[in-house]
Each structure stands twice: as structure tokens, then as C-alpha cells.
């Protein structure tokens, strides 16, 4: 098969290397003999090859390079395994995320002081007072919504102040107070 001018020009390097079939070689040689453009290219490529000058780095370099490559490649492989495989594997990532999430949950729960009642559980609240043994008329009127912190509420009136004092009593104190009031009542107080 006869090749066209452009196709022959492209394979001139292969001709110089001797890497083509005998038929193609003959074809190309015949073309170069007739084509000045391809002849000039062929001569230029010969000059380029002749001009090639790669300095010899010394036999020691080539003698030791295989062992060096082997040793350094293995070192790089070990170092990479230590970090990348540890931090980039999906299982490691998932486990790390689970631990971090758990830590956040536990830590948040313990340090949440938004509800002061966790630390300052009032041993006595209005609802805990037991009035079962006290006649209805004797039950002090206590507003469940009274704020026990007098510094914020203040004494809006004697009545409110009285309620705060009553609510802050322990159950024993409250019973004692009731007994006292009964006695005073009996005495006409």
C-alpha cells in the first residue's frame, strides 16, 4: 500500500530508528529520493539525533539506584500507612464521629445549668406542704407562683411577704407554726 506524502513525513523518526516493515521502508526511501521537503526533514532529524548529548552520570549512580528506589519506596509506603490509613479509612472516621458525638452529648448534659433547679432543688415547695391535718380555714393562702427569691420579687405587700416566709419553712417548722397559731387562737389571739 502506497502511503501519502504527509503519512510518510510523520514516520520519518521510525525510519531512522529502523522500526518499520521492509515494504514501508522501501516506499519511504523511494519517496525521499524524489521529495526535497521530506529529504530536508530526514536530514534535520539525523542532525537532531547526532546532536543529542546526554552526559554520563557515572556507573555508581546506575549501580546503586535500584536498591535506593526499593528502600525509599518502602519507607514512603510505611509512613503513608501510619497516617493516611489511620485517618482516612471510613471505619476510623465513623468511630471517631461516634465518640465525638457521645462526648458532646455527655458533656452538654452535665454542664447545662439553664435550669437552676438541678443544683438547687428546693426541698420544700408549696405543693409539697401537707395540709391534710389542718382545717381549711387555717390553711394559709400561698400563691404557688410566688417567687421564693425575695431579691427579685421584693415585698409587694405584707401579705406577699407573709406568704414567702410561710413557704420557706420546713415541714417541722410549719407544723410548729400551726400548733402555735392554734394555741393563740384558743387563747383569743
Amino acid at each position: 500500500m502506497k502511503l501519502a506524502h504527509d503519512e510518510l513525513k510523520e514516520i520519518l523518526p521510525d525510519y531512522l530508528r529502523g522500526s518499520m516493515s521492509e515494504d514501508v521502508r522501501k516506499n519511504l526511501r523511494a519517496h525521499v529520493d524524489e521529495c526535497q521537503d521530506c529529504e530536508a526533514d530526514l536530514l534535520l532529524l539525523s542532525d537532531i539525533i547526532d546532536a543529542d548529548s546526554v552526559p554520563d552520570p557515572g556507573e555508581l549512580f546506575f549501580k546503586t539506584l535500584p536498591q535506593r528506589v526499593r528502600a525509599l519506596a518502602q519507607t514512603e509506603r510505611r509512613v503513608r500507612f501510619s497516617f493516611k490509613s489511620l485517618f482516612l479509612r471510613p471505619v476510623a472516621i465513623a468511630a471517631s464521629m461516634a465518640v465525638i458525638t457521645l462526648a458532646i452529648y455527655l458533656f452538654k448534659d452535665k454542664t447545662d445549668i439553664g435550669d437552676a433547679s438541678l443544683f438547687f432543688k428546693d426541698p420544700l415547695t408549696v405543693t409539697m406542704l401537707d395540709y391534710s391535718s389542718i382545717p381549711e380555714n387555717d390553711i394559709p393562702i400561698i400563691d404557688e407562683y410566688v417567687d421564693l427569691d425575695s431579691s427579685t420579687l421584693g415585698y409587694k405587700g405584707i401579705g406577699h411577704g407573709y406568704y414567702i416566709d410561710i413557704a420557706s419553712l420546713s415541714s417541722k417548722e410549719a407544723e410548729g407554726l400551726v400548733e402555735t397559731l392554734k394555741k393563740e387562737q384558743a387563747n383569743g389571739g
Binding site: K9, E10, P13, D14, L16, R17, S19, A40, D41, L43, L44, L45, S46, D47, I48, I49, D50, A51, D52, S53, V54, P55, P57, F61, F62, L65, P66, Q67, R68, V69, R70, L72, A73, Q74, E76, R77, R80
Partner: protein, 181 residues
């Protein structure tokens, strides 16, 4: 089975000696190739080692979509281009290489000068043209292999090569050099 593939499989199976055989086979070619890219012997030695280490470490990911030789040249090409980019080599004018006072046959001196000028002119070519000419002419690679290494189509390789050779002829003609008869 291809010798390279066989050696790679031996290495991946744990036979580390196989890697030394691969290095022995390709070290000179890779050294010559990166030297032609950088023009500096010490840099070429470093890049040769770098290329081979990178290839060994990447062997488990080598998918055999091209020959091992092509794949290795791709690594070498990238290493060379990265190095050139980082170091921005200054081109050496041929006048610096001319042996002015050498006593000997005039034709030899002129021949040496011409060869030095050809090397310098090659370095003046745009990167992809220089690479195409170097791979086709110096490395003796086919158009297909060159395309795989350069990461472009065969048509692009032909164009880069054709334009590179054309430009070289123009440069030499400007200087008054005619190709050898």
C-alpha cells in the same frame, strides 16, 4: 505474559527483588529523557529517582490501560514539567557553548557548534512541540505512545511534531545552518 507485567505482579505478591529488575531495565532511558527536558545532570538524577519511586509506590493502582513503559514516561514527563515550572530554567545561548580557542579540525569545531545550536534551538521550542519531537525522535516512541504520555490525541501529537520540526528548520535557516548533505 509481558515481562513488565510479570515483574509487577511478583512485586505486588511480596517479591521485592522484582522492583530492582524493573528499575534496572528503565533507569537509563528515564534518566536520558528527563535530562533532555531539564538540561541539567544533577537535576536529571534526582528526577530519575523521584520518578521511579513514585512509579513503585503507584504500582498497585496501575490499571494496565497502557503499557508500563508509557505509564512510566507519563510520570517522568510530569516530574520534569513540574520541576521546570518550579525552577523556571534560563535558556543557554549557543554562544556560551562555542569552543573558541580549540585547536583542531575546523569542521569538527563547526560541527560541535552546530550540534550545540540544535540543542539550544530545541529548548526554544514551545513545551508541547519540544516534548513531541523529543518523544518521537529521541525516545523512538510511536505516535500512539506519545499521545498517551502527553495526554492528547494522536492528531495533536502529529500537529505538535510537525510544527516543532518546521520551526527548527526555520531557526537553523535563520542562523545560516543548512541540514547535512
Amino acid at each position: 505474559m509481558d515481562e513488565d507485567i510479570s515483574l509487577i505482579q511478583q512485586y505486588l505478591s511480596g517479591y521485592d527483588d522484582a522492583i530492582e529488575k524493573i528499575v534496572l531495565k528503565y533507569q537509563r532511558q528515564i534518566y536520558a529523557f528527563v535530562y533532555r527536558m531539564t538540561g541539567n545532570m544533577e537535576e536529571a538524577k534526582d528526577l530519575t529517582q523521584q520518578t521511579l519511586i513514585k512509579a513503585v509506590n503507584g504500582l498497585k493502582d496501575f490499571r494496565q490501560e497502557s503499557s508500563f513503559k508509557t505509564w512510566l514516561y507519563q510520570i517522568a514527563k510530569n516530574a520534569g514539567l513540574n520541576h521546570i515550572k518550579q525552577n523556571r530554567h534560563e535558556e543557554v545561548e549557543v554562544e556560551d557553548l562555542f569552543i573558541a580557542d580549540h585547536k583542531g579540525a575546523l569542521s569538527k569545531i563547526l560541527e560541535k557548534e552546530k550540534q550545540a545550536y540544535i540543542r539550544s534551538s530545541l529548548n526554544k521550542l514551545p513545551g508541547r512541540q519540544r516534548l513531541a519531537v523529543a518523544l518521537r525522535v529521541y525516545e523512538g516512541l510511536s505516535v500512539n505512545e506519545t499521545a498517551l504520555i502527553m495526554g492528547c490525541t494522536e492528531g495533536a501529537v502529529k500537529a505538535h511534531y510537525h510544527n516543532g520540526v518546521k520551526r527548527l528548520r526555520e531557526i537553523l535557516k535563520e542562523k545560516g545552518y543548512e541540514v547535512s548533505a
